[in-house]
Symmetry: C2
Subunit: 239 residues, 2 copies
C-alpha cells in the first residue's frame, strides 16, 4: 500500500514535470518561429519580443530543474522512472539553449542596418534554414511526446539537409560580400543567423539522443553522418 502510494505520488509529480516541459517547449517554439519571421521580414518590431521571451524561458527552465531535483530527492525513482526525470532535465537544457539562439537572432535583427539590406534571395535562404531547424525541433519534440523511437532516429540521422543549405548559403554570401563591400556587415549578420539556426538542428539531435536514451535505456553509440564543409578552403573568386 505504501509503495502504491509512492508510485502514485511519483506519477503525479512526473505529470507536472512533463507539463512544465511542455510549456517551455511551446514557448521556445513560438520564440523560434518569431525569430525566423523577424529575420525573414527584417521586422524590427517583432525582434524585442523574441529577445524578452528569453527571461521567461530561463526562469521556467530554472524552476523545472529545481523541481526535477526535488522529485529525485523525494521520490527516489529507479530505472525507467529515473530516466524519465533525467530526460526532462536534459531536454529542458537543450530548449533553453534554443531559446538563447533565437534571442541572438532577434538581437541581430535589431542591429542590422536598414541601409544595407541584403538580397531577398539570401534572406530567403536563411529563412529556409530557420524553418527546417524549427521543423526538426518540432519533429523531435513530437517523437518525445509520443515515445516514438523511429521518429527520434529519423531526426537524429537527417541533419545533412540543413548542413548542405548552410554551406550553399555561405558560398553565396561570400560571393556577395566580394562583389559589394557595403553588404559585408549585413551579410555577416545573416551568416551568423544561419549558423545559429544550424546549431538549433544540433540541439534537436541532442534531444533525439535523449529520447533514444529514455526508450532504450542506453546511449546511442554510432557516428552521425555530416554534410559538406561550409566555408570553402579558398575564396570562390580565386583568393
Amino acid at each position: 500500500m505504501d509503495s502504491e502510494h509512492t508510485i502514485k505520488a511519483f506519477d503525479a509529480e512526473l505529470k507536472i514535470l512533463r507539463s512544465r516541459l511542455g510549456e517551455i517547449s511551446d514557448l521556445v517554439q513560438s520564440q523560434l518561429s518569431a525569430a525566423v519571421a523577424a529575420i525573414a521580414k527584417r521586422d524590427r518590431g517583432l525582434a524585442p519580443r523574441v529577445i524578452s521571451l528569453q527571461s521567461q524561458v530561463d526562469s521556467l527552465q530554472r524552476q523545472l530543474e529545481e523541481q526535477v531535483v526535488i522529485t529525485i530527492a523525494r521520490r527516489q525513482p529507479m530505472a525507467v522512472d529515473l530516466r524519465e526525470v533525467v530526460s526532462v532535465l536534459r531536454i529542458s537544457a537543450d530548449l533553453k539553449r534554443v531559446g538563447e539562439i533565437a534571442q541572438n537572432v532577434g538581437k541581430r535583427v535589431v542591429e542590422m542596418s536598414d541601409r544595407a539590406a541584403p538580397l531577398r534571395q539570401l534572406t530567403r535562404s536563411v529563412r529556409r534554414i530557420g524553418l527546417l531547424s524549427r521543423d526538426r525541433l518540432a519533429a523531435v519534440l513530437d517523437s518525445y511526446a509520443r515515445r516514438d523511437l523511429a521518429g527520434a532516429l529519423a531526426v537524429w540521422r537527417g541533419d545533412t539537409d540543413i548542413d548542405d543549405l548552410y554551406a550553399a548559403l555561405v558560398r553565396e554570401l561570400l560571393t556577395y560580400m566580394m562583389e559589394d563591400q557595403r553588404q559585408i556587415t549585413s551579410s555577416l549578420h545573416l551568416m551568423f543567423c544561419a549558423k545559429n539556426f544550424e546549431r538549433i538542428g544540433d540541439h534537436a539531435t541532442n534531444i533525439a539522443e535523449s529520447v533514444y536514451y529514455l526508450i532504450e535505456g542506453r546511449s546511442i553509440g554510432e557516428e552521425r553522418p555530416k554534410g559538406q564543409s561550409a566555408i570553402p578552403s579558398a575564396a570562390p573568386a580565386g583568393g
Copy 2:
C-alpha cells in the same frame, strides 16, 4: 550502521565521479590549449589531434553521465549530496560542449587556405581571446575544485573583457575584408574561431552558476553584465 555504510558507499562513488570529471576537465583543457595554439600558429599538424580528442571526450562524458544516473538510483542521495551529483552532470555537459567548440576550431584550421594567410595582428587577437577563454575556464574549474564561491562569482561577473576584445576584432576583420577581398574566407574562419572562443566563455559562466548552485543550494537570479555589441549596425567604411 546501515546508514553509515550507505554514506561511505556514496562517498566512495562520489569520489569516483569527481575524479572522472577531473579527467574530462584535464582532457578538454589540453584540447582547448592545442586549439588555440593551432589557430595561432596555423599549425595544421596540431589540428587533427584537437579534432580526434573529441571522441574520447564524448565517450568519457557519456560514461560519466551513466555513472551519475546509477549513483542517484543506487544511493538515493539527498540535499547537498544530490546537488553534488547534479553538478557533476551539469559541468560535464558544459565541458563536452567546450570540447566540441575546440574541435570546430581544429576543423577550421585544417580548412584554412595557406595562400590567403590573414594578418598576424588578427591571428594574435584571436589567440588572445582564446587564451582569455581558456583562463576563464581554468579559473572556474579551480573554483569548483576548491568550492570557492568568490572565485566562481568573479568568473560569473567578468565576461565583458572577452566580449569587448571580440567586438574589436570583428571591427578589424570587417575593415580588412573590405580592403582585400581575397582575405574574406580566411577572415571568416578567424571570426568564427573567435566566436567559438567567446562561447567557451559562456560555458565557463554556466559552470560558475553550477558552482553557485552547489554551494548555495539555489540558482543565481540577477542579470549578468554584457559587453558591447560585436558587429556594428553599419559597415565602418560608410556602408
